[in-house]
């Protein structure tokens, strides 16, 4: 199964400089801190985490829209070229990004059809009539009618707009689509439709997807593997059913117990996190989560835990789990 992955990222770091007032020194914020992951061909990786944990930054880094401050990303075995390069531009046919706000992502001056044809025009794919045919096919593929192509973005509903954005992203048959909160701006009934559409599309086209969301249910529905992020690092990674049913990392446990379950009433076993939400400008020493962790050990404040295998294809970054794992080994 582990053939060469489509996308492999090693030790990604992305810092932002934040100015707080004219005379104060700028503060460096580490949005992403030595993050490593890989995505296989045709695989969907879900990335979850609370807002501000660096999910979107990770998405932009992986899509090649922003350069990492350190670390490497390779796509199809080759390093990602720098933005603006001719090679980078050609790579845009293979990696596409879908953003959260579909109305903002569309140019309100151009019709939907013109915008879906745009990637084909940019990369000079096909003749004019071929492009027109392709646009019609794409519109039907994403569940719109061919005559929607003549409409302007403001004449469509939110769900239709997101479908149009997807059609544009699919125009060049990319190998990887990075979806950054693609359904968060839609209401729940439309969310389900778009998610189903995405699931169908990835099935038909065998493309890989990175699906970024704060909504665990949505991610579970579509992902082959999920990664939980906290303050710019992956704290747990693995099969969605395993991670979501039996989370190992205390943060994943808290995150998953916070998902409301209809009809369950007030649950006793909910882990309510103490302390403030994380501030990436003042990252704690050691494990970033230790100030809020209900089970923190003294070592957690000293040493950042590594992402290590915890069996069944899962990886967890937590001293507790490591200790428990070693304990298990000793008893065996």
């Amino acid at each position: 199964m582990m053939a060469a992955p489509l996308l492999r990222a090693e030790g990604l770091v992305r810092r932002y400089r934040l100015r707080q007032g004219v005379f104060r020194h700028p503060v460096t914020v580490k949005a992403v801190d030595s993050l490593s992951l890989s995505v296989a061909r045709g695989e969907t990786l879900g990335i979850v985490g609370e807002s501000g944990c660096g999910k979107s930054t990770t998405g932009r880094l992986l899509a090649g829209l922003e350069p990492p401050d350190s670390g490497t990303i390779s796509f199809g075995g080759e390093p990602l070229p720098a933005a603006g390069h001719a090679r980078w531009r050609r790579l845009r046919t293979r990696i596409q990004m879908v953003f959260q706000d579909p109305l903002g992502a569309l140019d309100r001056r151009l019709t939907i059809g013109e915008q879906i044809a745009e990637p084909l025009e940019i990369h000079r794919l096909g003749s004019k009539s071929e492009r027109a045919d392709r646009v019609k096919t794409l519109l039907v593929d994403v569940g719109l009618r061919p005559d929607h192509g003549a409409r302007y973005p403001h004449e469509l509903s939110g769900g239709q707009r997101q479908r149009a954005v997807l059609a544009r992203a699919l125009a060049t048959d990319p190998d990887l689509i990075v979806c950054d909160e693609p359904v968060s701006a839609l209401d729940v009934s439309i969310q389900a439709q778009v998610i189903n559409l995405l699931a169908d599309l990835k099935e038909q086209r065998r493309m890989a997807m990175i699906f970024i969301s704060h909504d665990l249910r949505v991610v579970r529905q579509i992902s082959d593997r999920i990664a939980v992020m906290y303050l710019g690092v992956i704290v747990e990674e693995g099969d969605p059913n395993l991670v979501l049913r039996d989370p190992l990392h205390p943060y994943s446990q808290a995150l998953i117990s916070a998902v409301p379950t209809p009809g369950a009433g007030r649950r006793r076993d909910r882990t309510v996190l103490q302390g403030d939400p994380p501030n990436p400008a003042a990252r704690p020493r050691g494990c970033a989560f230790h100030p809020r962790c209900p089970a923190a050990l003294p070592v957690c404040a000293q040493l950042a835990p590594e992402l290590t295998s915890a069996g069944e294809g899962r990886r967890v970054a937590c001293h507790l789990v490591e200790a428990a794992g070693e304990g298990r080994k000793e008893t065996v």
Binding site: R92, M97, G104, D107, R108, L110, I122, H154, L156, R168
Partner: protein, 290 residues
């Protein structure tokens, strides 16, 4: 979901629309007349604009005691005011049109450059903008005309420099805020180059603001041209322009007001019409506003 189409806002009342449209219609009619005059100036003018008729100096227009030979009267040298007016309209409008286009293209281009490259390019362009904005344009114009002499091409280019800084500022600000919007990011990540990005996407999205700026600048340039010609620095006799006519007609304001009143009227009506049409055009171009 399929049948859903975003509803537009309730339409303004029919009467309001009619009233506003009538003003625009009148403005359009006037501008059409003016444009026709510009195109057919040579055929419309009954006399050569510089031909003297010393026997009919300061003749009054028809209806004010003048005869049919000079429909709108004549000036102190017996030159036909109608012919001079027709040629002046052409001259002034061509100058204003050329200068507005030069200013708008230059300013928009520099604004895009500043927004695209940021860094020192932006700083240099902004410094030029501030320099241009803080320098009284008349002084600049006087200096240039004094050093390089006066030619029509130079004069148009000089007037084109007037107001470029406004386009540059507006374009830079709008392009930067457009850059923060999703569609620019989205098109960029499709692999589009800067030409496509700025000309196909950003420019149409900010065009309504630029057109309003142009319709504000156009009357400004007509007035500036008139002012400079009035001071004797603009269009030089024997050539004639609207401002030039007003300037030289000033001496005869009490005895022969028609020399001055008619070109002034044309200036006012044309600038007003352009403002009205520009406003209407902005609403028309913005498909999302209709």
């Amino acid at each position: 979901m399929d049948g859903f189409v975003a509803k537009s806002l309730p339409a303004p009342t029919a009467r309001k629309l009619w009233q506003r449209d009538r003003a625009v219609q009148l403005a359009l009619v006037w501008l059409t007349v003016v444009l026709a005059v510009v195109v057919f100036a040579d055929r419309l003018a009954p006399y050569d604009y510089a031909a003297l008729d010393l026997r009919h100096r300061l003749a009054a227009p028809v209806g004010f005691g003048g005869d049919v030979a000079h429909l709108l009267g004549s000036d102190e040298l017996g030159r036909d005011v109608l012919s001079r007016l027709i040629v002046s309209i052409r001259m002034s409008l061509l100058i204003a049109f050329g200068a507005t286009l030069i200013g708008a293209s230059l300013g928009t281009m520099l604004g895009f450059l500043a927004a695209h490259f940021r860094g020192w390019v932006e700083q240099v362009i902004l410094a030029c903008v501030d320099f241009q904005a803080s320098m009284p344009f008349l002084i600049l114009a006087l200096a240039v005309l004094a050093f390089f002499g006066n030619s029509l091409v130079l004069f148009v280019a000089l007037l084109g420099l007037h107001g470029w800084e406004r386009y540059a500022r507006v374009t830079r600000a709008l392009a930067m805020s457009a850059g923060a919007q999703g569609y620019v990011m989205a098109v960029h990540q499709l692999g589009a180059g800067p030409w496509r990005l700025y000309l196909r996407h950003v420019l149409p999205n900010i065009a309504s603001t630029l057109i309003v700026t142009m319709t504000l600048a156009f009357p400004d340039i007509i007035l500036l041209e008139s002012g400079l010609s009035f001071l004797g620095l603009g269009v030089q006799p024997p050539l004639t322009s609207l401002g030039n006519m007003v300037g030289y007609g000033r001496d005869y304001l009490t005895r022969a007001p028609w020399i001055l009143v008619l070109p002034s009227l044309v200036i006012s009506l044309t600038t007003l019409s352009i403002s009205l049409v520009g406003d209407w055009l902005r609403d028309r171009i913005d498909k999302t506003l209709s």
